[in-house]
Symmetry: C2
Subunit: 555 residues, 2 copies
């Protein structure tokens, strides 16, 4: 692990040495902690001396400030090896305020949501914000913005953007290469992006056999999409790092738990921790408890959240040892991960609100729509079928003469929001709304305005309200609106997590009241526009047959 | 692991992908091998497809060339994480010819012997030679040349040399920081060298407690000097990589074997494989067998010689997986490490002699000496005491009036060989020579001419002969000479390993015949001049008291 990142000045290293030797008092000593060593898999009592934000020594020390940690376990701060902060609907600062006190002190994030809206400037915004929060924020440069030519995004991340962003501190490599067909088909731009990055994350659900070999041989080193043990095992055998995803919706730990103990295996959220769950259940602390629930040994569970990601990303973290960043969590109870205190850079973290610039709050450039914009051919049509809890869709073909709630045939529309004004329309089955509409600017990956509703009028009302508030989630029910403003890039709220969670709960209750039986209708709706996940989708360009990889109906 | 080192061209990665997908035939396919997976700790049958020198895929493949490996185990080429090539007395090319066919395909070398003689030009010479040998040669820049101001070396490696050498391909970081007092005392130059290197090896025998914490906090990441389990465990707990040394003389595996299985633990030779043992017993293949003998599981033993060093040094090696260098060893028997075939870069390696430039063969600039140069005060004197098999010396004080073989009081002299002409002299006990003398240009670390003899005349004869042949080992017995020329920097022979081993055996027999009962008199003599290992030593500057760290008698 390079010390460069942590030790930049000779004076700093000298002080660290003197403190470690006991010749000078440390800034802070955590006394008598039960140190959990995730490398040797031992727990022993020791003092942890901290100075210059780093661990100087583990042994017997005295400090200018001392904290008695008798009976408390000291574990390294938890690291999420793969997440998307924007999916929390919180700003990075607010996200940090929620997760850091629960023991997560570092994330490796793929900011590809904001990148689809604001391009590299959006990524730089997060990098800038990260300087003002105690959460250690590492960034992978999104590899697939836009997701495909089948939708209109707000920006593109090209090879020259990747090059530019790699020069920023804490930018580690290339984020999940979702476009695996591009890799397999030797697409020049995709391969060039891979070649210039030191660390390259993957994303290859169900890829197997020779094609998987090719994907790995191309230089892609990790995957977080395995849902079955055999799938993950095949990838691991080929030297891929396996990130086991355990989130609010995607729950792969049960199936993959046998991989615990392998150095190439990590636990990640993939951004899939709903803000309500975040507040109620926790973040990686919750994931750790899930691992314990599945019968995984405490230290092996910790390894997947500390030293394993630290080794992969070459971070000076993940172990309570001299020279590493003093990101330490004190626990009252190890198995329950009951946090007593958290230190980042050897300090009790402080949280501030970050003020986003106005340009990041003015991202919805669409014009208001009216019912005649939503006209759609009737007759025998291909209808999108959504399934509860899945992002994959199916297809049914039925004879349709407009919205018909009695047969659960609703309309889904996607309104381009970056100034082009395209509107894509399709019929959809599965939402179950009896009245009202939902519209939102969370619509993977381009994050246009997506809406589903029981009438054209309601859809228009919802969409137009989203435009008015410059992004967010709106539910209409006749004359009533319920809304959650997501003014930052149309993805994140400027409010506190508790407020966001509360509004979200009300919106969900309302959606249920409107007749929808889906567990996570907002999530389901957000994926209806993603044209790289099978099978039938709708983007601003029209109805997309993902398997044929083309727009099949522009309506 | 960065792919940069292996994949430089888009055309190369494209071919790799096509071969992996099975769309093109591989250059070579190793069919039906029992693949030993050191990551998942499994063994399974598969084909290994190779193209562009890399592994394209592990699965089912066909190739332009195919080799049937039915019944053979395929393991990754072994990696020595810490060695000194010069100590074999062979050129790198000749060393490679001996070790590669035995399954060692990569070494991480600290060329600090040649650096003491020829400085950075000597290191560049090895780097240049390495391009012409199939052995993968990674280099750590020597951190402590000269070892101390208490001897005269041929060169100095300063901070600017470290900076220059780091730019060379395959130079990975800073070699063992032996001068741990300099670290603990915050020496500017030492700390500056550490700060500019990504990977920093350590060397800290018996360092413990707070001082060990300080040494680690300074950014030093490994140690190969542990001889007791508790010592190694303390270091490992602090996050140090433990290199277990198992050589011809230093044998630490028995004591440290319990550490096998930890990802931070490696097996190394530290250069301590005598050429005779190399030919008779092997190199890392021998070390592997020793591990098996000690009851270590085969795959855990392999991990310490493959994936563990590869992870530490971030090498695209150590695992049979797509995208990694195709350095593969086929074994008839796994536990006995019986080699059938070795591939480096996917090819059967070929070996050539490397022709060293003349300037590297003219390094002994000393003038011939005569007995009057060796005059030494008589009376009550401090006498160096050597112990069999140890590099630490002791001290006895006796009344002396010149060499007295009946009391085993001989003379040891060090003749500076870089043009200054200093001669250091001392009495020594423990060699047991009854007649004759030994002189050699292997004399850690400065590699001046060191000699021990039963008379001043014999010492002069031996030293002068060493000067005549421009380096090597000479034994005199009255009018007879036995010699091994080490013309390259006075350290390495230009001859084949078998010839070197044969001459060395004769020299050893002769030394025994002269009355010496030491197991390794040449090694013992080579360390008598090293002023950083306790207790009493002799350098070209005189008698050195290592604990006082000064020349105590210039005679």
């Amino acid at each position: 692990m390079s010390m460069k990142e942590s030790l930049k000045r000779l004076s700093q290293i000298k002080r660290l040495i003197r403190v470690a030797r006991g010749l000078e008092r440390a800034d802070l000593v955590i006394k008598n902690a039960e140190v959990v060593n995730v490398l040797t898999e031992e727990i022993y009592k020791a003092d942890i001396a901290i100075c210059e934000g780093l661990i100087a020594g583990v042994g017997s020390y005295s400090g200018i400030e001392e904290i008695d940690a008798k009976g408390l376990y000291a574990v390294p701060g938890l690291i999420d090896a793969h997440t998307h902060i924007e999916m929390s609907m919180l700003t990075l600062s607010e996200f940090a305020r929620v997760v850091v006190p629960r023991g997560t002190t570092a994330v490796v994030a793929d900011p590809h949501e904001i990148a689809n809206v604001l391009g590299k400037e959006g990524i730089k915004l997060l990098l800038e914000e990260s300087k003002h929060t105690p959460l250690r924020f590492f960034c992978m440069v999104p590899s697939c913005v836009p997701s495909s030519p089948l939708e209109t995004s707000g920006a593109k991340i090209g090879i020259e953007d990747v090059e530019e962003l790699l020069k920023y501190e804490n930018v580690l490599g290339l984020a999940e290469v979702m476009n695996y067909p591009a890799v397999l088909n030797c697409d020049d731009e995709t391969l060039s992006k891979i070649l210039i990055c030191d660390i390259v994350d993957g994303h290859c659900p169900k890829l197997s056999g020779n094609d998987l070999n090719a994907y790995v041989a191309a230089g892609i080193e990790s995957d977080h999409e395995s849902i079955e043990l055999n799938e993950a095992k095949e990838k691991l055998r080929l030297g891929m790092r396996i990130m086991i995803r355990e989130g609010s919706a995607a729950r792969n730990l049960k199936a993959l738990k046998d991989l615990a103990g392998n150095r190439y295996v990590m636990l990640v959220t993939d951004g899939d921790r709903d803000v309500v769950d975040l507040l109620n259940e926790g973040y990686l602390d919750y994931v750790f408890r899930r691992a314990i629930e599945e019968g995984i040994d405490e230290i092996k569970a910790l390894q997947m959240l500390t030293i394993n990601p630290a080794e992969y990303f070459r971070l000076n973290l993940g172990l309570i040892a001299p020279g590493r960043f003093a990101d330490i969590v004190l626990l009252k109870d190890l198995r329950r991960f009951e946090v007593s205190k958290v230190f980042v850079n050897g300090k009790i973290p402080e949280f501030k609100k970050y003020n986003y610039p106005e340009w990041a709050k003015k991202t919805v450039k669409a014009k208001k729509i009216s019912p005649k914009d939503l006209e759609i051919r009737s007759g025998k049509v291909r209808i999108i079928k959504v399934y509860d809890g899945e992002i994959v869709t199916g297809e049914v073909v039925e004879y349709v003469e407009g919205i018909d709630t009695s047969r659960d045939i609703l309309k889904a529309v996607v309104v381009e929001r970056y100034g082009k004004g395209n509107i894509g329309k399709a019929y959809v089955k599965g939402f179950g709304l009896k009245r009202g509409a939902i519209a939102q600017t969370i619509a993977h990956d381009a994050h246009n305005i997506v809406s589903v509703g029981a009438s054209d009028e309601e859809i228009c009302k919802a969409v137009n309200r989203v435009i008015e508030i410059q992004g967010g989630i709106v539910v209409t029910d006749a004359d009533k609106f319920l809304e959650l403003k997501l003014e930052i890039a149309g993805l994140m709220s400027d409010e506190r997590a508790e407020v966001v969670a509360d509004k979200l709960k009300r919106i969900r209750d309302k959606i249920k009241e409107l007749g929808c039986k889906l567990k996570s209708p907002i999530t389901t709706l957000s994926f209806i526009a993603l044209p790289v996940i099978p099978k039938l989708k709708v983007t601003d360009l029209g109805l997309v047959d993902v398997e044929r990889f083309e727009v099949v109906d522009k309506n």
